[in-house]
C-alpha cells in the first residue's frame, strides 16, 4: 500500500504506528516512497514549465522531509491543513493523486482545488480539509486561528496545522494570528519551513534574530526549532505539538530548517543572488539522500528496493503526465459559477 493511498480522508492512523514521538521503520519507508514520488512529480512539473505547458511552478524540493513528517504526526481524518504554495509534498502525502496535481499545473479540466481558476495548489481539496485560498503571503495564519476557534467552540479535538515560510514570518498577519491563538490557547500548530530565503531576500535581511521559533515566547506558547531534513525529529516535535493541542494546552510554533534546492519558482534564477558556495553547500542537505542513507544504514531498504521505489515513482509520473497532457481545458462557461451562491456572475 502506498503512502498516498494510506492517507486518504477516511483512514485513521495506521495501526503500525507506535506511541508518541516514535515512528516505525515500516512507516519511514512509506514516507520515503511519498518523498520520492513527490520529487519525480516535482521535477516533471518543472520540465513541463520548460516545455511551455505549465505557466509557473514552485518546487518543494528540499522541503519534502519536513512536509511528510509533519503530516505523519497528524490525523487527516479530523485535522485541518492550511498550506501555502510550497506544500507540494504535503499535498501528495495527503492523498492528492499525481493526475490531480498535474491538472493544477496544466490548468486542465477536473482540476480538484479550484477548477483551474487559481495557480497550481491553490483552492481547497475536495477530500481532505486542506486549503490555500490565495497567493497572498501569511493570510492563512489568522484564518487558521479562526478554524481552530470554531473547533474549540464546537468541542472538537481537531488540530489545525498552518504552514508558512521564513519570509511570511515578517507579515503583520503572522503576529496577529499567533497573538490571537496565544490568548485563546487554540489548537493550532504554526509550522514554519525556514529555507533562509524569501525569493531573493536572505534571512539576515528578513529578521534581526536567528530563529523564528524564538518568537513563540512573545505569545505565551512553546517554540521549537528542528532539522527539517530529519524525518524522525520533525515527526517527534510535531507529535508533541499535536498532543499539546488536542489536550487543550494551546499552540506550538515549529520551525523546520530546510533548503530550497531550486530557485524560488520557474520564473526565478537564484544565481543572481545566491553565491556558488551557498548553492553547493545547501545542495548537500537534500532530504531524500539523507533519508535514503538512514534507511539503508538501518537496513530498512536494500539498494535494489530503493531502485524499485524510484522506478515505480517514475512510472507513476509518466502515466499521469500522459493522461493529463491529453485532457482538455475547462469549458469557458464554468468561469461564471460560484461567485456567490446561486448566481452566475453578480453585477
Amino acid at each position: 500500500m502506498s503512502a498516498t493511498e494510506n492517507k486518504s480522508l477516511n483512514s485513521t492512523l495506521p495501526e503500525s504506528k507506535p506511541g508518541s514521538g516514535q515512528i516505525s521503520g515500516e512507516r519511514l519507508v512509506e514516507l520515503y516512497r511519498t518523498m520520492v514520488l513527490s520529487r519525480y512529480l516535482d521535477q516533471r512539473v518543472w520540465l513541463l514549465n520548460r516545455q511551455g505547458k505549465a505557466a509557473i511552478a514552485a518546487s518543494a524540493q528540499g522541503h519534502e522531509a519536513a512536509q511528510v513528517a509533519c503530516i505523519e504526526a497528524t490525523d487527516p481524518s479530523r485535522d485541518h491543513y492550511l498550506i501555502y504554495y510550497r506544500q507540494f509534498t504535503a499535498m501528495v502525502a495527503l492523498g492528492t493523486e499525481p493526475e490531480e496535481m498535474l491538472r493544477g499545473f496544466l490548468a486542465k479540466e477536473g482540476e480538484p482545488m479550484s477548477a483551474a481558476r487559481q495557480f497550481p495548489l491553490h483552492g481547497a481539496h475536495p477530500r481532505v480539509d486542506l486549503f490555500n485560498f490565495s497567493n497572498v503571503i501569511a493570510t492563512q495564519l489568522p484564518q487558521a486561528a479562526g478554524v481552530a476557534l470554531a473547533d474549540k467552540l464546537k468541542g472538537l479535538d481537531a488540530v489545525t496545522v498552518v504552514y508558512f515560510g521564513d519570509g511570511a514570518s515578517s507579515q503583520g498577519d503572522t503576529h496577529e494570528a499567533m497573538n490571537f491563538a496565544g490568548v485563546h490557547k487554540l489548537p493550532v500548530i504554526f509550522f514554519c519551513e525556514n529555507n533562509r530565503y524569501a525569493i531573493s531576500v536572505s534571512i539576515e535581511k528578513q529578521m534581526g534574530i536567528e530563529s523564528v521559533a524564538s518568537r513563540a515566547a512573545g505569545y505565551g506558547f512553546p517554540g521549537v526549532r528542528v532539522d527539517g531534513a530529519d524525518v524522525v525529529a520533525v515527526h517527534e516535535v510535531t507529535k508533541t505539538a499535536v498532543e499539546r493541542a488536542r489536550a487543550g494546552d494551546g499552540p506550538t510554533l515549529i520551525e523546520a530548517s530546510v533548503e530550497r534546492l531550486l530557485p524560488h519558482t520557474t520564473d526565478d534564477d537564484h544565481t543572481r543572488y545566491r553565491s556558488t558556495e551557498d548553492i553547493e553547500q545547501m545542495s548537500k542537505r537534500d532530504p531524500l539522500l539523507i533519508l535514503a542513507e538512514l534507511l539503508k544504514r538501518r537496513d530498512l531498504i536494500t539498494e535494489s528496493q530503493d531502485e524499485e521505489i524510484h522506478d515505480k515513482a517514475k512510472k507513476r509520473v509518466n502515466v499521469a503526465t500522459d493522461t493529463v497532457d491529453a485532457e482538455a481545458f475547462p469549458n469557458v462557461d464554468t468561469m461564471f459559477e460560484h461567485v456567490v451562491e446561486n448566481t452566475r456572475g453578480h453585477a
Binding site: 485541518h80 482545488m113 479550484s114 477548477a115 481558476r117 487559481q118 491553490h122 483552492g123 481547497a124 481539496h125 475536495p126 486549503f131 485560498f133 490565495s134 497572498v136 493570510t139 495564519l141 489568522p142 484564518q143 487558521a144 486561528a145 479562526g146 478554524v147 481552530a148 476557534l149 470554531a150 473547533d151 467552540l153 464546537k154 503583520g172 498577519d173 496577529e176 494570528a177 497573538n179 490571537f180 490568548v183 459559477e337 460560484h338 461567485v339 456567490v340 451562491e341 456572475g345 453578480h346 453585477a347
Partner: protein
C-alpha cells in the same frame, strides 16, 4: 410592531439570530462587557457568554481573518469593526481572501460571515471617525454590501446577511443609530440583498441615495413638494449588487435623475448609478444626470462649521432638485 432606533434594531437582530442559530458568534473590539462602543452588543455577553461574544485583541486583520477561518469551519461569525476608518487593516482578509473563497475553491469552501461596520459622518468625527468606505467593497465580485438606513431595513438586512452563505458587509451609518426611529415588526423577516426600495413615490424626478442621505433627501423632497416638484426617492439599500433595474425604471419614468451621497464623488457609488442611467435610460432622459456630494477633500473636518459645510444637507439637496427641475 415596536418603535425603535436603528441601533436597537441592530441589537435586537443580533439577539434574535444568536438565539436562532448556535453557530452565530460575535467578535470585535469591546463587544463584550463594554457592549460595543455604540452599545450595539449591550447585554449579548450576559446571555451568550464569552465563547460566543469575543472581545478580540486590537488587530483588525485578525478580526477579519479569524472570522473567515471560523466561517469556513462551520460558524456564522459577525465581525464588528469598531469604526469604518479602522477597516483598512482588514481589507486584505476581506477583499483579498473572503470575497474569493467560494470562487477560488470552486465552491468547496464558503465563508458565511457578516462584517458590521459603523460608518459615515456628521458626528464630529474628524478625519478618522467619519469615513465612508463603501467604494472598494461595492467594486469587488464575491462580496455583497448592504447599507440600511431605517430600523426596519436594518433588521431585515442584518438578518439576511447573517443567514447568507457568503460574506456580507453591513454598513451602519453612525448618525442614524440614535437619530432615526421607526416601526419594526417583532416577528422574524428578511429583506433580499440587491433590492432597492422607493421610499417616496414621485413623478417629476428620481432622487437616488442611501444611508443618512436618505433622510436628508426625504426632507428635501418634502420641501420641494411644497414648491410643486414631486420627487421620487429611491433608497438603494444594497450597494453590491446595485439594483440596476430599479434605478433604470424610475429614472426612465421620471426622465430626470439626481444622485445624492455623503461619500466624495470621484469613482464612487454615485458614479456607478450615473453610469447605469447613462447606459440604460439615455433616450428617456430630459436632463443631465446630476450628482450631489461633498467636495473632493478628505472627509471630514472636525471643526463644526467646516463639518457642516462638508456634509450634504436637506437645503443643499433642495437646491440641486430645484436646479435640475428647471432644466
Amino acid at each position: 410592531m415596536a418603535e425603535m432606533t436603528v441601533i436597537e434594531a441592530v441589537r435586537d437582530t443580533m439577539f434574535a439570530e444568536m438565539r436562532r442559530d448556535d453557530s452565530v458568534i460575535l467578535l470585535g473590539e469591546d463587544v463584550g462587557s463594554r457592549g460595543g462602543v455604540f452599545l450595539a452588543s449591550d447585554g449579548l455577553i450576559d446571555e451568550f457568554g464569552e465563547s460566543r461574544v469575543i472581545d478580540t485583541p486590537l488587530a483588525e486583520s485578525s478580526i477579519a481573518g479569524v472570522a473567515l477561518g471560523a466561517a469556513v469551519n462551520g460558524l456564522r461569525p459577525i465581525a464588528e469593526i469598531q469604526f469604518a476608518d479602522f477597516m483598512w487593516p482588514a481589507i486584505n482578509q476581506l477583499i483579498g481572501e473572503a470575497s474569493k473563497v467560494r470562487y477560488g475553491t470552486n465552491g468547496v469552501k464558503t465563508a458565511p460571515m457578516t462584517v458590521r461596520v459603523p460608518y459615515g459622518g456628521g458626528v464630529r468625527g474628524g478625519l478618522y471617525h467619519s469615513q465612508s468606505i463603501e467604494v472598494l467593497f461595492a467594486h469587488t465580485p464575491g462580496l455583497s454590501v448592504v447599507a440600511p438606513a431605517t430600523p426596519y431595513d436594518a433588521k431585515g438586512l442584518l438578518a439576511t446577511a447573517i443567514r447568507t452563505n457568503d460574506p456580507v458587509i453591513v454598513l451602519e451609518h453612525k448618525r442614524t443609530y440614535r437619530l432615526v426611529k421607526g416601526e419594526v415588526p417583532v416577528e422574524d423577516y428578511t429583506i433580499p440583498i440587491g433590492k432597492a426600495e422607493i421610499k417616496r413615490p414621485g413623478t417629476d424626478m428620481t432622487l437616488i441615495t442611501y444611508g443618512l442621505m436618505l433622510h436628508y433627501s426625504l426632507q428635501a423632497a418634502e420641501m420641494a413638494a411644497a414648491n410643486g416638484i414631486d420627487v421620487e426617492v429611491v433608497d438603494l439599500r444594497t450597494l453590491r449588487p446595485l439594483d440596476a433595474d430599479a434605478i433604470a425604471e424610475s429614472s426612465s419614468r421620471t426622465g430626470k435623475a439626481l444622485i445624492v451621497q455623503e461619500d466624495t464623488p470621484a469613482v464612487s457609488i454615485s458614479s456607478e448609478v450615473a453610469a447605469i442611467i447613462g447606459e440604460r435610460c439615455f433616450f428617456d432622459l430630459d436632463g443631465p444626470i446630476t450628482r450631489l456630494g461633498p467636495p473632493e477633500i478628505p472627509p471630514m473636518p472636525f471643526s463644526p462649521i467646516q463639518e457642516a459645510a462638508f456634509m450634504p444637507s436637506p437645503e443643499k439637496i433642495l437646491d440641486a432638485i430645484t436646479k435640475l427641475a428647471e432644466v
